[in-house]
């Protein structure tokens, strides 16, 4: 029982069914996208419910320029993915390769930018001292994702950390406002480990906004990765089908393109929700 035999047996794998006007996979992907809308819809609903119930909501934690650049990357890839499919329909395989390749590269670039954004958050710290003072800023050497446990970990052997508080004042990202910031903030501080009650990076555990940010964009990143893998497969080894079963290959590229549009669309909603409002 080979793949070819099987596909011959099942009707409308390539041809559209006359009364529905769809081939099977096209209906399948639309159904899948409907369920994806419900998945992300649940996250956006949760965002609304959590934000409405929140006493305070941080703003300005994310870099709008980086987000805008990423929006530009994904929006461009939406165009190139259509160009790839359209070139294929016109029978221009080399142009398909070009546009499909550009789409994959744009996806990879998006992921790289996202990686830098995550790194920025996980090297940004909030600290609460024994006297109740709360500070936000960076630790000398920009260590990645330390926590209170790291400070007391004998493997690190830390006795003090050099802390660069954020410009302005130590803002109250958590709990009460801290008017009693001990020193002028653009100086670096030496904080003995014994004085530090709690240290955490601006990861998803830090507040509800960041929890939503990491979870929603994280799920979106998984979708970008999955989509990019499929697109790359059709650019590379999967494109051999162009020689053996060109109509089916065009269908496949169309279906993967529909998924890619959805991934872009999610980001179009994520960007203003998380970065701008």
């Amino acid at each position: 029982m080979t793949h070819a035999v099987l596909s011959e047996e099942i009707p409308y794998t390539v041809e559209a069914r006359p009364d529905t006007g769809l081939f099977n996979a096209k209906l399948g992907i639309w159904l899948f996208l409907a369920s994806e809308v419900m998945l992300f819809g649940a996250f956006f609903s949760s965002y609304i419910m959590l934000r409405v119930g929140a006493t305070e909501w941080p703003s300005g934690l994310l870099s709008v320029p980086m987000g805008t650049f990423n929006t530009f990357l994904l929006a461009s890839s939406t165009i190139t993915v259509v160009m790839a499919w359209f070139s294929l329909r016109l029978g221009d395989f080399s142009k398909f390769k070009l546009y499909q390749g550009v789409t994959v590269l744009l996806a990879v670039a998006f992921l790289v930018v996202k990686g830098f954004e995550y790194r920025d958050k996980l090297t940004h710290y909030w600290v609460r001292l024994a006297d109740g003072t709360e500070l936000t800023g960076h630790i000398e050497g920009r260590p990645f994702n330390w926590s209170t446990a790291t400070l007391h970990d004998p493997a690190f052997g830390l006795t003090e950390i050099v802390f660069h508080p954020d410009a302005g004042h130590a803002h109250a990202a958590k709990g009460e406002a801290t008017e009693a910031a001990p020193v002028a903030t653009h100086h670096s501080l030496k904080l003995p480990v014994s004085q530090i009650e709690r240290l955490e990076s601006f990861g998803p555990w830090h507040n509800t906004f960041l929890a939503l940010y990491f979870t929603m964009t994280g799920l979106h990143v998984l979708h970008v990765m999955g989509g990019a893998l499929v697109l790359a497969y059709f650019w590379g080894p999967g494109s051999r089908m162009w020689k053996t079963d060109p109509r089916r290959f065009v269908n496949r590229v169309e279906v993967s393109g529909l998924f890619w549009h959805f991934v872009d669309l999610v980001w179009i909603f994520l960007f203003p929700t998380l970065y701008l409002i």
């Binding site: 959590l50 929140a54 509800t208 990491f214 979870t215």
Partner: protein, 620 residues
């Protein structure tokens, strides 16, 4: 007009064989491709029938496991604090002394078993059997398709289900044991129940659920696409068997209702493992210590997302059952279904409204009177199509010359049992009465009437009914009736008394069956009757377990030794699955089929036979 003589006792089959494909019994279907090896054929198969059987067997095993958990819990409820005979020692050896010291079920183990009983029964037992097994096996056959639209996705769906089930089962054996916060996994309890372990039972539960939801997603896309795209020529929408309609609506519910639970599951996973506070409000104190989390989450949010799935899920449990019962009733009354279109539109209405009733599980959360009023209204509305369907099935019996064979007995029992389950739900759907009844045994009685003697009876009916199509042999009629009679009796002995216990205020999660509450001074606690009922319910539950032995033996024995089905259509049915060879070969139909008529043309006046199959062209 001669009727199909294969009645309850099994008289000789009339000489008229199935009209359309000559010599179907004897000749094997022409095979064009070489026979695949054992692994490809039975294990990693992409044939919808094999996958359906895989789903069916796995789901039956899980149903048995889920039942075993409650059978053990029933010991603790009837005889609180006493060691479970024999099995208690086994539990201690398998799960450790902290779970079952001296064979006595610990509160933690009781909670684990309770949570996993619900989870296994719903997500690993009934739905995979109703949709995975029956849907997979029958939908392509009933619509005249060679297979599902996406055979490989179909296999992937089964294997996701299998892996999800293994993850759930594995959680019993990890430190801290399986999830213990009910099948509803309410936060914050679910997150703080086991602070000692980060990868605790709840985390496994969430992982298992995410995998199971993936399985359900793949399955529902496949069923919907298959029904829309692969119907045989002439099989237009109003000629679909009602079973197919039920599967279509069910699949849409699965497709659209499960993702919010997936989202909720991912968020609770983040709470549990990464340390976020999606569902953890500020100011939580656990064991006297303030919880070091950012807080600001919402416990209500979990309930909204959970019930957004879990109420439609109730209709996922009941709609396929209604589909099975409809097929069996039409066949055994030898009459067209009464109100076919009402059934179709009724099931669509159920599918739609089921997305608008979820918060009737949450009247006691303090979400507010306005919201409660909205959900009380929609809840009353959804009872209308449910009653329409039940009425149509009931009226279908009117004037029929009913054949009381095992499938029909189970199908007929479904009607009053589902009726009791449905009607006892009304007081729960109205806020004023729900305040009294919420979280009591009344609720347990109510939804078990819907699912246990309701859906599970319909599934038994379906197994007895389609068994000859799958195996070519009939299941034993006598033992089938024994199975039916004792099961029906026990189901009522178990669930009817629960209404009394519930009205007395017995809480559904009481570890000692309410003994402490009954003995408490200064409160109007439980009566001695409620406690005695614990014992009788437990005895009935164990007898119900024993009553399944005839079924299990019958099921396996009949594969080789059952009486041979005389034709491909032993029940003289009308729908397309009976037009295939038995068992159907790979590709199902030796020749392409076309459909000429509706699904239930029984006893059409002026015809030589009392049934006309859908693919038989008009002779005139």
């Amino acid at each position: 007009m001669p009727t199909c003589p294969f009645g309850p006792i099994g008289g000789p089959l009339m000489s008229t064989t199935v009209a359309s494909h000559p010599g179907a019994v004897a000749e094997p279907a022409p095979h064009t491709h070489p026979e695949p090896g054992f692994l490809r054929k039975y294990v990693f198969s992409v044939d919808h029938k094999v996958i359906g059987i895989q789903y069916g067997i796995t789901a039956l095993v899980f149903l048995f496991l889920g039942f075993s958990l409650i059978a053990l819990m029933r010991w603790q409820l009837a005889y609180p604090g006493q060691p479970i005979p024999v099995i208690g020692r086994l539990l201690e050896w398998m799960l450790g002394p902290e779970m079952a010291s001296q064979g006595i079920m610990s509160p933690d183990l009781y909670n684990s078993f309770g949570a996993m009983h619900g989870t296994i029964m719903i997500f690993l037992g009934v739905v995979p059997l109703a949709v995975g097994a029956f849907g997979n096996y029958l939908v392509p056959l009933q619509i005249g398709a060679p297979d599902m639209a996406f055979p490989k996705l179909n296999a992937a769906s089964y294997w996701c289900y299998f892996v999800g089930g293994v993850v759930m089962l594995a959680s019993f054996f990890i430190p801290g044991g399986a999830a213990k916060s009910g099948w509803t996994s309410y936060s914050p309890l679910a997150v703080i129940a086991d602070m000692a372990h980060r990868w605790d039972g709840q985390t496994f539960w969430l992982l298992g659920m995410v995998i199971l939801i993936t399985s359900s997603l793949l399955g529902s896309i496949n069923i919907i696409t298959t029904i829309i795209q692969l119907r045989a020529p002439g099989l237009d929408w109003m000629r679909l068997p009602f079973f197919v309609w039920a599967q279509l609506v069910t699949s849409f519910i699965l497709l659209l209702a499960f993702p919010p639970l997936q989202a909720a599951g991912l968020m609770q996973f983040m709470d549990n493992v990464v340390g976020t506070s999606f569902f953890l409000p500020s100011g939580l104190v656990v064991a006297g210590q303030p919880l070091e989390v950012s807080g600001g989450g919402s416990a209500l949010l979990w309930q909204h997302l959970f019930w957004f799935l879990a109420h439609p899920e109730v209709y996922v449990l009941i709609l396929p059952a209604m589909g099975i019962v409809a097929e069996i009733i039409a066949n055994n009354t030898r009459k067209p279904l009464w109100g076919y279109k009402s059934l179709v539109y009724g099931s669509m209405a159920i599918g739609f409204i089921s997305f608008l009733v979820w918060a009737h599980h949450m009247y006691l959360t303090g979400m507010g009177q306005t919201i409660s009023t909205f959900f009380q209204t929609t809840t009353m509305l959804i009872s209308i199509p449910s009653v329409i369907i039940l009425t149509a099935l009931l009226v279908s019996l009117w004037g029929g010359s009913i054949r009381f064979n095992t499938p029909m007995l189970f199908a007929l029992s479904f009607l009053p049992m589902f009726g009791i389950g449905g009607l006892t739900g009304l007081p729960l759907g109205l806020g004023a009465t729900d305040i009294q009844l919420h979280d009591t045994y009344y609720v347990i009685g109510h939804f078990h009437y819907v699912v246990a003697p309701g859906t599970i009876f319909a599934l038994f009916a379906g197994i007895y009914y389609w068994y000859p199509k799958v195996t070519g042999r009939m299941m034993n009629e006598f033992w089938g009736r024994v199975h039916w009679a004792i099961s029906l009796l026990c189901m009522n002995l178990i669930f009817l008394p629960m209404f009394i216990q519930g009205l007395e205020g017995m809480h559904r999660r009481m570890y000692d069956g309410g003994a402490t509450y009954a003995a408490a001074e200064g409160v109007a606690g439980l009566s001695q009757l409620a406690l005695k009922l614990n014992v009788s319910i437990s005895h009935a539950a164990w007898l119900l377990g024993l009553a399944q032995i005839p079924f299990i033996v019958n099921f396996f024995w009949s594969i080789r030794h059952g009486r041979k089905a005389e034709s491909d259509n032993p029940w003289c049915a009308t729908t397309l699955e009976w037009a295939t060879p038995t068992p159907p070969p790979h590709g199902n139909f030796p020749e392409p089929v076309a459909v000429y008529r509706g699904p239930y043309e029984y006893s059409v006046p002026g015809r030589p036979r009392d049934y006309l199959m859908q693919h038989e062209p008009d002779q005139a």
